[in-house]
């Protein structure tokens, strides 16, 4: 453990922890999709077919990474932020950090019309890596569709069961006890190695895109904090602690006290 405390974890060029993320889009119009991507100066077609690289330039030049104040941008060698690939009639955007994923989702929402491509999932890894650790070789090795789907389906079932119990509870106090007990037992569990975030659980619901992006950020930000704190030896650090930290980060400049 002491050895680990001395070691930094692997980071990407823009300073964030290396944590592979894969965004999956449903393709609704492949021809327009390719044209929409190639219209952007931050996108360049790769040598492989159906593949495009996303660079930190052009339309996304002003994207901000807090951790790279000292980073010197080289316009002749822009940083590659991610790679798009069309595979099995789906569009995947592979990225190497949670921050990049949180920037990519709203960014491409502006340029990819919903009639062309629609975001479905984000698959990601709940850990940070050592500098000399063997990295996953390709995303198919780490993201097993069946396992990720099973985790999410289990959570949806749990949600429905707890909801049902709360609705049948004799009083509001009983319902709150059910929720508190459930929360206590579940938050103590470790997060799975790989996880999936679904963007459209309720397709019929019209939701403000900003809220969708914020929900994704909240989901990932907490998990990133847990992975980093645990790397530095805080084995008991949980998503509950992370929630506290995220709220403090977002609302901490209000200048008022928060009720304990």
């Amino acid at each position: 453990m002491f050895d680990r405390l001395q070691r930094p974890f692997l980071t990407v060029e823009t300073g964030e922890a290396y944590q592979p993320v894969r965004l999956s889009y449903e393709i609704l119009n492949k021809e327009v999709l390719a044209a929409s991507l190639e219209k952007l100066t931050c996108i360049q077609k790769a040598a492989n077919p159906n593949t495009w690289h996303w660079y930190w330039q052009g339309e996304c030049e002003d994207q901000h990474f807090e951790s790279v104040n000292s980073f010197q941008k080289n316009s002749s060698h822009p940083v590659r932020l991610g790679t798009f690939i069309i595979h099995h009639k789906k569009l995947f955007l592979t990225l190497s950090s949670f921050k990049r994923a949180c920037l990519a989702v709203p960014f491409f929402h502006r340029f990819l019309d919903l009639s062309v491509a629609r975001i479905q999932f984000a698959d990601f890894i709940n850990k940070v890596f050592a500098l000399d650790e063997r990295l996953p070789h390709g995303f198919t090795e780490i993201f097993k569709d069946e396992e990720l789907e099973q985790i999410i389906q289990q959570r949806l079932e749990d949600y429905e069961q707890v909801k049902q119990k709360c609705e049948e509870a004799p009083s509001a106090e009983n319902a709150l006890t059910i929720l508190a007990d459930y929360t206590r037992s579940e938050t103590a569990k470790r997060l799975p190695y790989a996880e999936r975030y679904a963007f459209e659980l309720d397709k019929h619901q019209q939701q403000d895109p900003e809220v969708i992006f914020l929900a994704f950020y909240i989901f990932l930000r907490g998990r990133e904090l847990v992975a980093i704190k645990r790397w530095f030896g805080q084995a008991g650090y949980s998503l509950a602690d992370a929630a506290d930290s995220v709220i403090d980060g977002v609302f901490g400049d209000l200048g008022i006290d928060v009720i304990d």
């Binding site: 999410i152 959570r155 949806l156 749990d158 949600y159 707890v162 929720l179 459930y182 929360t183 579940e186 938050t187 975030y197 679904a198 659980l201 939701q207 403000d208 900003e210 809220v211 969708i212 914020l214 929900a215 950020y217 909240i218 989901f219 907490g222 998503l239 509950a240 929630a243 506290d244 995220v246 709220i247 403090d248 977002v250 609302f251 901490g252 400049d253 209000l254 200048g255 008022i256 006290d257 928060v258 009720i259 304990d260």
Partner: protein, 68 residues
């Protein structure tokens, strides 16, 4: 300023509700903390309305000061 921040809190609540089905226990914790924050904001606004906003109190310590 408080109204803007209340909007932020409400946006967060909406976002948490969006993610609650796929991570109920953790989103419940987040929602509880937002509810506490919302209460604080409400009390802060009420104090301002009643003209007590500038009076120093033990609760005037900024949230930031809790950070290590």
């Amino acid at each position: 300023m408080s109204n803007i921040n209340l909007k932020q809190v409400h946006a967060d609540v909406e976002a948490v509700m969006l993610g609650i089905k796929q991570d109920m226990p953790n989103m419940l914790i987040y929602a509880t903390q937002l509810a506490q924050l919302s209460n604080s904001l409400y009390e802060h606004n009420q104090a301002l309305i009643k003209g007590k906003g500038s009076a120093p109190s033990p609760h005037d310590e900024p949230v930031n000061s809790r950070r290590p």
